[in-house]
Symmetry: C2
Subunit: 364 residues, 2 copies
């Protein structure tokens, strides 16, 4: 009997379906469409597609029903493309698809680790002239901070309106993600952990984060620890990103830093992420960091690499590191061959444009 | 009778006194030490020095007394170097100098516009390989958002600790800063305003900001308006910063974006800022964006340019645009001559290092 990974697939909106089609091709190739032997185990992937996102909302008025959520939660893992309709679409005015779908899944499935690795792959051009050897991971908290939706407003629409947002941070929530980050740092060659926060202004939450890091550091004497304010961290992201190994930070700072990380590493088209529940009580969810990009949807010009690298994170999390490595090696090879094609011709512009499917096929 | 500008000078800690010494030299040169005619007006600057910061705290236990505050508030303008002691100094553990001094001044003097221009000066090297023509201004709100200090914590130090931060946003507070930003955008050639927020997650405050921008936009038909989520804005800061003209954003997003802006424009050593109360009820305060950098303090190696450019903002705000332009022209000339020296030699490393005072003298 092969091991079966029951995968919930949410292609979503915009370029989501296109990039997910390629990611699934690569997943099948990596584990073998009908049960290859991976990591000494016969593995097969059983997929259930869920039509969710702006398109589904426009059709039915539902963003994510309790039944959808229960059905998704019964799987072993989730692969998500991108969600979000055309910005400014008046029919979506009252739906916050991001909150109602993406954030609801992260919160309901207790994805407290939002794992976002950043590497500049050989051959990929960074907008930085001298980025150095960039290879770091942001461990972003996924279930607390200003994302909890505990804000509110009074006197809305009047000159006396007050709109508050509340960032909630708990010892329970901070401890578990900081511990995960220490374990990750301890497993990496450089064994370095940087806490990013804004402790001089957000003094209550900052103090909790800093004390938690200090306390857990005592259990990991091999890991060297430092601290940066979030504003200073953005400076180092552009002046010396190679200095980072593992970064642990809150939900909002992690959101901001990982888009910046995607940009400096050659584009958000390569940035993968995992929304992970390390306890395994709920399935983890893997998704490219990029959005649904409705402006280029359906044209087969989106880069599926971020979705494909999200498959590698999925395979890692499923305990199939060999298959994950095969995916990463294939991506590395493909990016290097893009670079060769570009330099052989008269410049990057001369690179023959490949369709989304051609990139997927090349990686397969 | 010459017009007298009564200036409160707070050199502060670390490199603060060194860079302020140069800024004052340049200020004197720009308006004439003893009453030159500027903008058809005879102007003289009368300076009062305030010893505030970590050093003062260590001596007296005071960060900023009510008397200090009243004395500072009676001036026409404030020039501040940098505040903050050596990180980790155990004697400063219970003092939050940033909150108690810098933020207290911004809040008490109702500095609701935190103005932070970003230009890549000719000859200055950006860490971006192809930044384009960068010339934008971030209008950061200065008296609300998560900076209000309305957080709190319970069960501190136990496994059940909960630490909350509250971001407060009011129609009153958002309206006045957005209006300032529109007026600024209308006065600039490109007439473009970008709201940066995170409306898809911070739905209450985001909605207030977005509705306020929409409402005021109707009064400024010449200004084109767009919106970016803060995470996406960081991407454009490194991939296409030239696209920005005026950015309006909240206190925390503005903090993060302006450090990043400093970095891409060739270093935080060049980034100036004004904490402005446009009503004139309280004096405005001008300061370099950089911190006190205790590690390089007293060595005469800090770049005073950011402090000097803060003097230009001060002169603008005091209605002396010709003097401000003279300062900027001198800075531009100095930066260009640095670039010439670097390229004439065998590279930037061969640039003869100048002391803080030598840079100030050159600009004078
Ligand atoms: C779509 C949005 C709610 C989301 C976030 O802010 O987390 C996205 O930016 C991300 O980083 O995954
Ligand atoms: C020192 C700190 C409180 C301050 C801030 O966060 O506003 C600084 O980073 C700045 O940008 O002026």
């Amino acid at each position: 009997m092969p091991r079966v990974i029951r995968l919930a697939v949410i292609p979503g909106d915009g370029i989501g379906p296109e990039v997910i089609a390629e990611a699934l091709k690569v997943l099948d190739a990596a584990v073998g469409a009908s049960g290859a032997v991976v990591s000494d185990e016969a593995v097969t992937v059983e997929k259930t597609h869920f039509s969710l996102g702006a398109a589904r909302y426009l059709e039915t008025g539902d963003v994510l029903t309790d039944d959808d959520l229960a059905a998704i939660a019964s799987h072993d893992a989730i692969l998500l493309g991108a969600v979000g309709g055309v910005p400014g679409d008046p029919r979506l005015k009252d739906a916050n698809i991001e909150r109602g779908l993406l954030l609801r899944l992260r919160f309901a499935l207790d994805h407290f680790v939002n794992l976002r690795p950043t590497t500049i792959y050989p051959g990929v051009t960074s907008p930085l002239s001298n980025p150095g050897e960039v290879d770091f991971v942001v461990v972003r908290e996924g279930t607390e901070g200003p994302y909890v939706g505990n804000g509110g407003a009074i006197r809305v629409g009047t000159p006396h309106e007050i709109a508050n947002e509340v960032s909630v941070n708990t010892a329970y929530g901070v401890e578990r993600v900081v511990r995960f980050a220490f374990e990750l740092a301890a497993s990496r060659p450089r064994k370095k952990l940087t806490l990013v926060h804004k402790t001089n202004v957000l003094v209550f939450s900052g103090s909790l984060w800093q004390r938690t890091v200090n306390a857990i550091a005592a259990e990991f004497p091999d890991v060297s620890v430092d601290y940066l304010h979030v504003d200073a961290a953005t400076i180092f992201f552009v002046t010396n990103p190679a200095k980072f190994d593992v970064i642990v930070t809150d939900n909002l700072f992690g959101d901001i830093l990982t888009d910046l990380a995607g940009a400096i590493s050659g584009g958000i088209g390569l940035a993968a992420s995992g929304n992970i529940n390390p306890t395994g009580v709920f399935p983890s969810m893997f998704e490219p960091v990029h959005g649904s990009a409705p402006d280029i949807a359906g044209q087969q010009i989106a880069d599926p690499t971020a979705a494909i690298l999200s498959v590698a994170l999925l395979l890692d999390q499923q305990g199939l590191p060999e298959a994950a490595a095969r995916v990463r090696d294939a991506v590395t090879g493909d990016l290097a061959s893009r670079a060769r094609a570009a330099s052989g011709a008269s410049g990057a512009d001369a690179l023959p444009a490949r369709s989304t499917a051609e990139v997927g096929d090349a990686i397969v």
